[in-house]
C-alpha cells in the first residue's frame, strides 16, 4: 500500500472512531497535530501551577493548606502524565521544556494572569478547573488512545479540585462583606479570560483536530456546556457575572454573550499577558538552579529520545 493510500485508510479509521497507539503507523501530519495539542496541554498544566503556588504558603487553615498543596501537586502530576504522552510521540521532555521556556510553544491564556487574593484561589479552583474539565471530559474519547486514557485519569483527579474551589468560594460568600467583595472582584477579573479559554469557534470542515477526532467537541460547544452548568451555580450565590449581555436564548437553544476579546486571547497566548514573561522567567531561573541535580541523578541529556 503506498503512503497516500495508507494515510487515507488511517484517516478513515480515526474519523470513524478508531483508536491509535504509540507504536502504530501514523501519518506525520497526525503525529505532529497530536504532539502539538498534547504539548500545549502539558505546558498549561506546568504553568498553571504558578498562579496558585503563591498561595500555598498563605493558605489560612490547616485543611486549606493540605487541599491547595494537594491540588497544585496534582497539576504537576498532570504535567508529568501529559509530557509522557507527548514524549512517546518523539519529542523529549527536555526539548519541550526548553521550547516552553524559550517562548516557542504556548500555554493556555488563563495562566498568564495574576492572582490577587485568596478569593482568586477559590475562583480558579472552581471555575477555571470547571472550564478545563468540560474540555477534558470531551477528550476522553480522543482518537489518540494514550491521550484518551490519560484524560480519564485527569478528569477523575480534577473533580476533587472543583469541589475544593467551590467550598472555598462558598465559605467566603457565607462570610463577611469583605470576603464577598473579594470573591466578586475575583470573578470580575477572571470572567473575561474564562470566556476566552475554550478559544474562538472553529470551522468543523477545516478543524483537523476535530476531523481526526484528536478532540471530540468544538470550542463553542464546550463554552456552551460550561455556561449551562456554571452560570446558574454562580448566580445562585448572589454573584453578578460581569457581562450584561449574558442570557440564555430559549429560541436559539444557546447562551448569548458579549463577544470575547479574541485579540486579547491572541496577544496573551503569544507571551504578552500580564504575567507571561515573569512566570517564564521564574521557571527558567528555577530550572537553571536545579540543573546540577538532574545532571547528578539522570545524567546529562543524551541523544534525542
Amino acid at each position: 500500500m503506498d503512503e497516500e493510500a495508507r494515510a487515507g485508510a488511517f484517516y478513515a479509521h480515526v474519523s470513524a472512531g478508531g483508536k491509535v497507539e504509540p507504536d502504530d503507523w501514523m501519518p506525520d501530519e497526525y503525529r505532529a497535530a497530536v504532539l502539538k495539542f498534547v504539548e500545549m496541554h502539558a505546558n498549561s498544566e506546568l504553568m498553571g501551577v504558578l498562579p496558585e503556588r503563591e498561595w500555598i504558603l498563605r493558605a489560612p487553615t490547616l485543611r486549606r493548606k493540605l487541599a491547595l498543596t494537594s491540588k497544585v501537586q496534582d497539576e504537576v502530576g498532570h504535567a508529568q502524565l501529559l509530557y509522557r504522552v507527548a514524549e512517546d510521540l518523539g519529542k523529549s521532555r527536555e526539548q519541550m521544556l526548553q521550547d516552553l521556556l524559550a517562548g516557542k510553544t504556548k500555554f493556555h491564556n488563563v495562566f498568564h494572569y495574576p492572582t490577587r487574593s485568596w478569593a482568586d484561589v477559590g475562583i480558579i479552583a472552581w471555575l477555571v478547573d470547571a472550564a478545563a474539565i468540560v474540555s477534558q471530559q470531551a477528550l476522553r474519547d480522543s482518537s489518540y488512545a494514550p491521550y484518551a486514557r490519560t484524560m480519564k485519569k485527569i478528569c477523575w483527579e480534577e473533580s476533587v479540585h472543583i469541589m475544593h474551589g467551590r467550598d472555598v468560594v462558598l465559605t467566603m460568600m457565607n462570610g463577611t462583606d469583605n470576603q464577598r467583595a473579594l470573591v466578586q472582584d475575583a470573578l470580575d477579573r477572571w470572567w473575561g479570560p474564562l470566556m476566552q479559554m475554550h478559544g474562538p469557534p472553529t470551522n468543523p470542515a477545516t478543524d483537523r483536530d476535530l476531523i481526526w477526532k484528536i478532540k471530540a467537541k468544538g470550542n463553542e460547544q464546550l463554552r456552551q456546556e460550561f455556561l449551562s452548568i456554571y452560570v446558574p451555580r454562580i448566580r445562585e450565590l448572589g454573584l453578578v457575572i460581569p457581562d450584561p449581555a449574558l442570557a440564555y436564548d430559549e429560541v436559539a437553544g444557546r447562551w448569548a454573550y458579549s463577544e470575547p476579546d479574541w485579540d486579547e486571547l491572541r496577544w496573551v497566548v503569544t507571551g504578552h499577558g500580564p504575567k507571561s514573561q515573569e512566570r517564564l522567567e521564574f521557571r527558567r531561573l528555577h530550572r537553571a538552579e536545579t540543573q546540577w541535580v538532574r545532571d547528578a541523578i539522570i545524567g546529562p541529556v543524551g541523544a534525542a529520545a
Partner: protein
C-alpha cells in the same frame, strides 16, 4: 484528657507543641518546592512528604487543642513568631535541593527515634498517634536515605553541596532533642519513656555509621542543645510567619 493534673497537662502540651511546630514549619518550607522541584516526578514526591508533615502537625495540634480547650487552626496560625517552639533546624529557609535533602535526612532520622520512643508513651492517645505517624514515616525514611545516597554518589558537585549543607545544619539539628522545660514531669509520668538526651545519643549512634558507610566526612562535634534551641527564631522564620498568617490575619474572625 481528664486524669492529668495541671502540671502534667502543661508538660504534655509543651511536648505536643514542639512536635507539631517541627512538622508544621518543615512542611511549610518544603511545600515551596511544589511546582519547582528538580524533576517532575520528584516534585510530586516531595509535595506528598510536605503534606504528610502538615497532616501530622494537624493531628498534633488537634490533640493539643483538646487538652487546652483551644482550636487547632488558632494554635497553628494564631501565635506571634516568638511563641513557636520548633527546633532551630527549621529556622532555615528551603535554600537549595542539597540543603533540603540534608535537613530532611537529619529530621526524619531524628523524628524516627522520637516516634519510636513515644510509641511506648504512658499517654495512650499519644502512643497511638506515634504508631500511626511511624507508618507514614517509613516512606519518608526510604525516600530521604535514597536521596542522601544519590547526592553522595552523583558526582563532586552534588556531594560537595550535600556535605556543606549537612555541616551547616549539624548544630541546629541537635535542637530537635533540645531539653523540654517540663521534661522531668514527662519522665516521671512516663509520657516520655526516655529523656531527649538519651534519644539524641541514639540518633547519633544511628546516623554516624550511615555517614561513614557512604563515605561522608564525620560531622563536627555534637554539643548538647540548649533549651533555647526551640525558642530562638530568626528573620527567615519571621518572613515565613508573615506569609502563613497573611490571609488568616486579613480578617481575624472570618471563616476560610
Amino acid at each position: 484528657m481528664t486524669g492529668l493534673d495541671a502540671a502534667t497537662r502543661g508538660a504534655l502540651g509543651e511536648l505536643l507543641l514542639a512536635m507539631a511546630d517541627d512538622e508544621f514549619v518543615l512542611g511549610f518550607w518544603d511545600s515551596e518546592w511544589t511546582g519547582i522541584a528538580p524533576i517532575l516526578e520528584e516534585d510530586v514526591a516531595m509535595s506528598s512528604v510536605s503534606q504528610d508533615e502538615i497532616g501530622h502537625a494537624k493531628a498534633l495540634y488537634e490533640m493539643l487543642a483538646m487538652l487546652t480547650g483551644d482550636d487547632a487552626d488558632r494554635i497553628a496560625f494564631g501565635r506571634r513568631p516568638d511563641a513557636y517552639r520548633h527546633a532551630a533546624l527549621m529556622n532555615h529557609p528551603r535554600t537549595d535541593w542539597a540543603f533540603t535533602i540534608a535537613r530532611r535526612y537529619l529530621y526524619e532520622t531524628a523524628d524516627a527515634v522520637r516516634l519510636e520512643s513515644l510509641a511506648g508513651s504512658s499517654h495512650e492517645p499519644l502512643a497511638n498517634l506515634a504508631i500511626k505517624m511511624r507508618r507514614e514515616e517509613t516512606y519518608h525514611l526510604l525516600h530521604f536515605d535514597l536521596w542522601l545516597r544519590r547526592l553522595t554518589e552523583g558526582g563532586s558537585e552534588s556531594r560537595d553541596r550535600l556535605i556543606s549543607a549537612l555541616q551547616e545544619l549539624w548544630t541546629d539539628a541537635q535542637a530537635v532533642f533540645a531539653p523540654l522545660v517540663a521534661e522531668a514531669n514527662l519522665l516521671t509520668t512516663g509520657i516520655l519513656a526516655e529523656s531527649m538526651e538519651t534519644l539524641r545519643q541514639r540518633w547519633l549512634a544511628r546516623i554516624t555509621p550511615r555517614f561513614a558507610e557512604l563515605g561522608l566526612p564525620a560531622m563536627p562535634g555534637a554539643p548538647q542543645p540548649h533549651a533555647d534551641g526551640r525558642s530562638l527564631h530568626g528573620a527567615d522564620f519571621s518572613w515565613l510567619h508573615g506569609e502563613f498568617t497573611m490571609v488568616a490575619d486579613s480578617e481575624p474572625r472570618a471563616s476560610w
